[in-house]
């Protein structure tokens, strides 16, 4: 068993980058003034937040004034959807495989869910079918949290602009930001959500990009912070930390993606050798697996005859931590709505394993996982559970 914990759950959360810790501690120690105030302590805090907005705007490809800081990705998604709907009544649409933070608000508003194909890509015909002039918002996550599948946002935008020119487009880019150039890939989106803890910042901080001219009603009223869209005293330290983490993430992204993709490919190739294993969201060309449509950090498989919970338990005994689908509030693994939508049977989906790599993942981590996962699957298949 490995002495140190092999952390392969970066899609759930990432280790905090040192750069983020440094600026966060400095802000906590030195800049406790209320950023809405008038005196010099307040102004200093305000400056940190404005600097953070400037830094983040580079990674998001937007004007700094278009960034609204929130307390995380879920809040950003909720603000985008409820805020649009409150400003202008009508039908909201979302991808059926989106995060619950998108799907649940859309369902509450009586919206409709867009189907996906078995490779996880949005069914553009179904999108076309659902679109009409009553649609006011279409929300499609840029990258899926479970499978790591990247959506072709430009094609989606094109169809929406044609059939429902008045509709807003929101993309949850929470899983995309560590790996993809969100600034260019989401340039046509009207609303973009991100969450700091997916790229080396602490939990409890995120942002929503609201393009200039887009109408969003505030969901939380008070002191009128964040251009009146999101009242509440800003979390200066966390916002500063998120900007610092974003800065490193963007600057190192190309190198990280290349390095981690190589590690992921080693790991996934090894898991392909496990009998009755199915790698999600990949294409096969002449027997060669093409993972171009997945982010570099995603290694997601379904194993026949395996129960995720049992596999995860055994992995943990070996000090390897990972997950299956999204976790529910009790800490149990919920059945995956994503795999169900992609047409995986309940049994096969019940044997899913998400090994998600991150900026801190090393070759040693991967080599240990490569040995442990096939061995444990073999053991579990022998004993049955």
């Amino acid at each position: 068993m490995s002495e140190k914990i092999i952390y392969l759950d970066n899609a759930a959360s990432t280790p905090i980058r040192q750069e983020a810790i440094d600026v966060m501690i400095s802000a906590l120690e030195n800049c406790f003034g209320n950023p809405s105030g008038a005196h010099k302590m307040a102004r200093e805090a305000r400056r940190l937040i404005d600097d953070a907005r400037d830094t983040l705007s580079i990674g998001l490809g937007c004007d700094p004034k278009e960034i609204i800081f929130t307390a995380g990705g879920t809040e950003a998604d909720n603000l985008a959807i409820f805020g649009s709907h409150s400003a202008r009544q009508g039908t909201v649409l979302a991808s059926i495989t989106d995060h619950h933070a998108v799907v649940a608000p859309v369902e509450q508003l009586g919206g409709k869910l867009i189907q996906v194909s078995e490779d996880g890509l949005l069914d553009l015909d179904h999108l076309d079918y659902l679109l009409d002039e009553n649609v006011i918002l279409v929300s499609v996550g840029l990258v899926n949290g479970e499978t790591g599948v990247i959506q072709d946002l430009e094609s989606i935008v094109e169809i929406v602009r044609q059939k429902a020119p008045e509709a807003l487009i929101h993309t949850d880019a929470v899983q995309a930001f560590p790996w993809l150039d969100v600034a260019s890939l989401a340039q046509s989106a009207d609303l973009i959500s991100i969450a700091g803890h997916k790229f080396g910042a602490p939990k409890g901080v995120g942002a929503l990009v609201i393009r200039d001219g887009v109408q969003i009603s505030p969901m939380q009223l008070g002191g009128g912070q964040e251009l009146g869209v999101r009242s509440g005293t800003q979390n200066t330290a966390a916002i500063t930390a998120m900007a610092a983490a974003a800065d490193v993430t963007v600057k190192e992204r190309d190198v990280t993606v290349e390095r981690v993709a190589a590690l992921r490919n080693e790991l996934a190739d090894k898991l392909q050798e496990v009998p009755q294993s199915y790698e999600t969201g990949v294409a096969l060309h002449n027997g060669i697996v093409n993972r171009e449509n997945k982010i570099a950090g995603s290694c997601h498989f379904c194993f026949e005859g395996i129960e995720s919970e049992a596999l995860l338990f055994m992995l943990e005994q070996e000090n390897i931590v990972a997950s299956a689908a999204s976790s529910c509030s009790s800490g149990a693994q919920d059945p995956s709505h994503v795999l169900a939508a992609m047409g995986y049977s309940r049994d096969l989906a019940g044997g899913s394993l998400r090994l998600s790599l991150g900026h801190a993942t090393t070759w040693e981590d991967i080599s240990i996982a490569m040995e442990a996962v096939p061995k444990l699957i073999g053991n579990l298949r022998r004993t049955g559970s």
Binding site: E307, E309, S330, G331, A332, Q333, T383, G384, S385
Partner: protein, 344 residues
């Protein structure tokens, strides 16, 4: 303390299973706690709510043991909720706790435990495992008022060998005392009751059923087949039921003495009509050899017992209140569970 080996304790978040975990740890077992997430819908009791998972986790934290949550929601739907609904649709009276024990706690969980390297599991049930004719059997717990041997009657030799019931020799009062001495936060938590996936709020069972099946209005007949009233849904009527038949104020109290789901009729009679000398049974099972002599028969989780002989049917020594089809009959020799059947 040297380890007696690994054991997986099913922790519901209640006081009993919490104390079970604490006692086994004190005995020297290497205890891992697990809470089963069985039900995602609304519930205000039982083993399923998030707050109960939190209680179990915090107890495990205070004992310093590992705690996991297993999601058996699909199996619970397949083996407990689905059959519960179908039974009602057929006019039967199901016992979901027994089905949950049969399929989830003592089948699925034991198999899962084995796969994870645990040869033993434990629960906080009030019952004992005792030696019986070269094998093992379930016996009543020391606290008769809390005895749960009835809902464990289905355990076979293989399951009994892998199971520990640390509370069998204790009264509930003793359990609560131990919980307090271990400083467990659930020491005063009330006992769970009733069907864990249906809220206790009045009308919940009907609401639950009508979301899943079409409820059938039924005619209420007297013993001469005359229509004397009607009920909204035959699926909600159980033999022996007096209330909810719409007959109050019409002479002597009337009880449902027969429920015919196919014809959608409920026949009512007076109290003596509720009694019978024979109960038809199916799925007869003896732990060891059949008992030719009289046994004590229990027909509900906390009901009284009555003497009977069991052949292909149950022949009551004294006339016995009719048993609703679908209910389990558990046969006792003294404190020992020696067999069971289902009322046909």
């Amino acid at each position: 303390m040297s380890s007696k080996g690994k054991i997986l304790v099913a922790m519901s978040g209640g006081v009993d299973s919490s104390v079970a975990a604490g006692l086994l740890q004190r005995e020297g077992y290497e205890v891992t706690g697990v809470t089963l997430k069985l039900w995602g819908g609304p519930s205000d009791t039982g083993c399923c709510s998030v707050s109960d998972v939190t209680d179990a986790r915090r107890v495990a934290d205070s004992l310093g043991i590992e705690h996991h949550v297993f999601n058996f929601g699909d199996e619970f739907e397949d083996h407990v909720v689905g059959p519960y609904v179908r039974s009602h649709a057929e006019g039967l009276t199901p016992n979901p706790c027994i089905e949950c024990n049969r399929h989830l706690k003592f089948d699925k969980l034991i198999r899962r435990a084995k796969a994870l390297g645990f040869n033993l599991i434990a629960t906080g049930h009030h019952a004992r495992i005792v030696e019986f004719n070269n094998g093992l059997c379930i016996a009543r717990g020391a606290d008769f008022s809390k005895d749960q041997s009835y809902v464990l009657h289905m355990l076979d030799q293989g399951q009994l060998q892998q199971l520990k019931l640390p509370l069998g020799e204790m009264t509930k009062t003793e359990v609560r005392k131990i919980a307090a001495s271990l400083d467990l936060r659930v020491a005063d938590k009330p006992d769970s009751q009733d069907v864990c996936f249906i809220s206790n709020v009045k009308g919940s069972r009907k609401k639950f059923l009508e979301q899943r099946i079409d409820l059938t209005p039924a005619k209420v007949l007297d013993k001469n087949q005359r229509i004397v009233g009607e009920v909204e849904s035959i699926e909600m009527v159980t033999i022996g039921q007096r209330k909810g038949l719409g007959l109050s104020g019409q002479g002597a109290p009337k009880y449902a003495i027969e429920v015919d789901a196919e014809k959608a009729t409920v026949t009512v009679g007076e109290k003596p009509d509720l009694y019978c000398s024979t109960t038809e049974i199916k799925d007869l099972n003896w732990i060891d050899a059949p008992y030719p002599n009289t046994v004590e028969v229990q027909t509900s989780a906390h009901g009284r017992t009555a003497s009977a002989t069991v052949t292909s049917s149950v022949e009551w020594i004294e006339p016995h209140r009719k048993v609703a089809p679908g209910q389990s009959l558990v046969f006792y020799d003294g404190d020992l569970v020696v067999g069971s059947a289902i009322a046909g």
